[in-house]
């Protein structure tokens, strides 16, 4: 049985604010990523904060924040690995520099370049109101945000009316 999905908004249906916030998800994380390159933890903290602040604004923003957050996880992990390895070699001197290390450095640089390039393109397209799906992360974020199973209430969507008896009431009128 397939899960029904909520129809995607077209560029003209999105407000400028939504487009800018969606673009900001990529650009802000890129900036945080660049700042935190030697210690790849700040970008993750910034990404999580941005995600939780903005995700309820609209589905469009939620999708882009989630895609951006998830897509930086692999590069963050790869960078952590490189930092750990480099510290073991140059600081603690427990291991030697070898071909695996240099191959890993090449892999890390390319992975970061791919991440940067895709994020910049996604940011430009998000500003235009166009969806861009990253491999795996795009599908996952779409499935998470636009599935009818998503029960998150968005600021720009009407909240469903509560029917039936209201058990919870405020302490005073």
């Amino acid at each position: 049985m397939s899960i029904p999905y909520i129809s995607l908004p077209q560029p003209e249906e999105l407000t400028s604010r939504e487009k800018e916030d969606a673009m900001g998800a990529y650009l802000m994380m890129l900036a945080a990523f660049a700042v935190s390159l030697p210690l790849p933890i700040i970008n993750l903290i910034a990404a999580i904060i941005y995600f939780y602040i903005n995700r309820k604004k609209s589905r469009y923003i939620h999708f882009h924040c989630l895609q951006s957050l998830l897509s930086q996880l692999p590069t963050t992990l790869i960078n952590w690995g490189a930092l750990y390895w480099a510290l073991q070699i140059f600081f603690f001197e427990n291991v030697e520099v070898n071909d695996y290390f240099y191959a890993y450095l090449g892999f890390m640089i390319l992975a970061n370049l791919i991440y940067f390039t895709f994020s910049i393109v996604a940011a430009i397209r998000a500003r235009k109101g166009v969806f861009m799906y990253f491999i795996f992360f795009g599908s996952y974020a779409y499935n998470r945000v636009y599935s009818s199973k998503n029960i998150l209430f968005y600021d720009n969507e009407e909240q469903p009316e509560i029917t039936g008896q209201q058990l919870n009431k405020p302490p005073f009128e």
């Binding site: 030697p38 692999p74 140059f90 001197e93 071909d99 892999f107 795996f136 599908s139």
Partner: protein
């Protein structure tokens, strides 16, 4: 939908694995010469000329003697022994840029260190620790290896760079934890150089093994002081390397004509 996500995940794993494999295979296809000059050369030393290195050595020496209050041992017998060992080794160094100076520090630490420019400091404690002139020659040959391979200069540049980096990142707190020892590959290289030099000087390269065997026996007592030799690689692997070193078929060692018991008495 879930199937697509799983397929995408597999694709991304293959992509990452492929990128890593690409770089690794690329490195394997590179010739050893190119790989060494691009990645493993330790070319940092080329940033400083031999003249600058010797100047730097003079400055460090002045600092050690004047400011750091390093006291040198004044003893004719010891000086003559050190001279005899040094000159036998020095004659066998091919195309050296250095004018070696071996200085004996009046301190009971079992230690030795090298500064840029060809100055090697050995401690009185190390002379007492050695059981023969051949063992002293082994230690000196190792230190000469560090000088000839310019490890002192590379280390200085690397640590200077690292200290700046870590000072920026983490503050001065971490600065002092940067090791003062050479890295493992440098130690191996110096050992290899020492074995070849000892062979040319007609000293059995197994002197290295006998020195480390003694070190192993007395490791508990000397552990803290032997950073210059003990840190990397492990003593046993160095003993093994020294014992398995193959000398030329016609090699015959010539022991020093030095009464080591007299040296020990002079050191007391």
């Amino acid at each position: 939908m879930k199937q697509k996500i799983v397929k995408d995940l597999i694709k991304i794993l293959f992509l990452f694995g492929g990128i890593f494999a690409f770089f690794y295979v690329g490195l394997q296809l590179l010739s050893e010469d190119k790989k060494n000059s691009w990645l493993y050369s330790g070319d940092e030393a080329k940033l400083i000329s031999y003249e600058q290195e010797i100047e730097l050595g003079n400055l460090i020496d002045e600092y050690l003697i004047d400011t750091d209050e390093t006291v040198l041992l004044q003893n004719e017998l010891i000086d003559s022994v050190v001279w005899a060992v040094r000159s036998r080794l020095e004659k066998q160094i091919v195309m050296s840029e250095y004018d070696y100076k071996i200085l004996v520090v009046d301190d009971n630490l079992v230690n030795a260190f090298t500064i840029p420019g060809g100055r090697i400091y050995i401690y009185k404690g190390l002379l007492e620790f050695c059981e023969s002139a051949e063992q002293l020659a082994a230690v000196l040959a190792h230190e000469i290896g560090h000088v000839e391979k310019r490890h002192t200069v590379s280390k200085l540049i690397k640590e200077f760079g690292l200290k700046i980096l870590f000072s920026i990142l983490l503050g001065e707190l971490w600065e002092s934890t940067v090791s003062s020892a050479f890295d493992r590959s440098n130690e191996k290289e110096a050992d290899q150089y020492a074995m070849e030099l000892l062979e040319r000087a007609k000293i059995a390269p197994t002197a290295i093994a006998s020195f480390f065997r003694k070190l192993n026996r007395e490791e508990l007592d000397y552990n803290e002081n032997m950073e210059f030799l003990m840190t990397h690689p492990h003593n046993n692997s160095r003993i093994k390397a020294s014992l398995s070193y193959e000398t030329a078929g016609n090699f015959e060692s010539q022991d020093f004509d030095i009464d080591w018991k007299r040296v020990k008495v002079a050191l007391e």
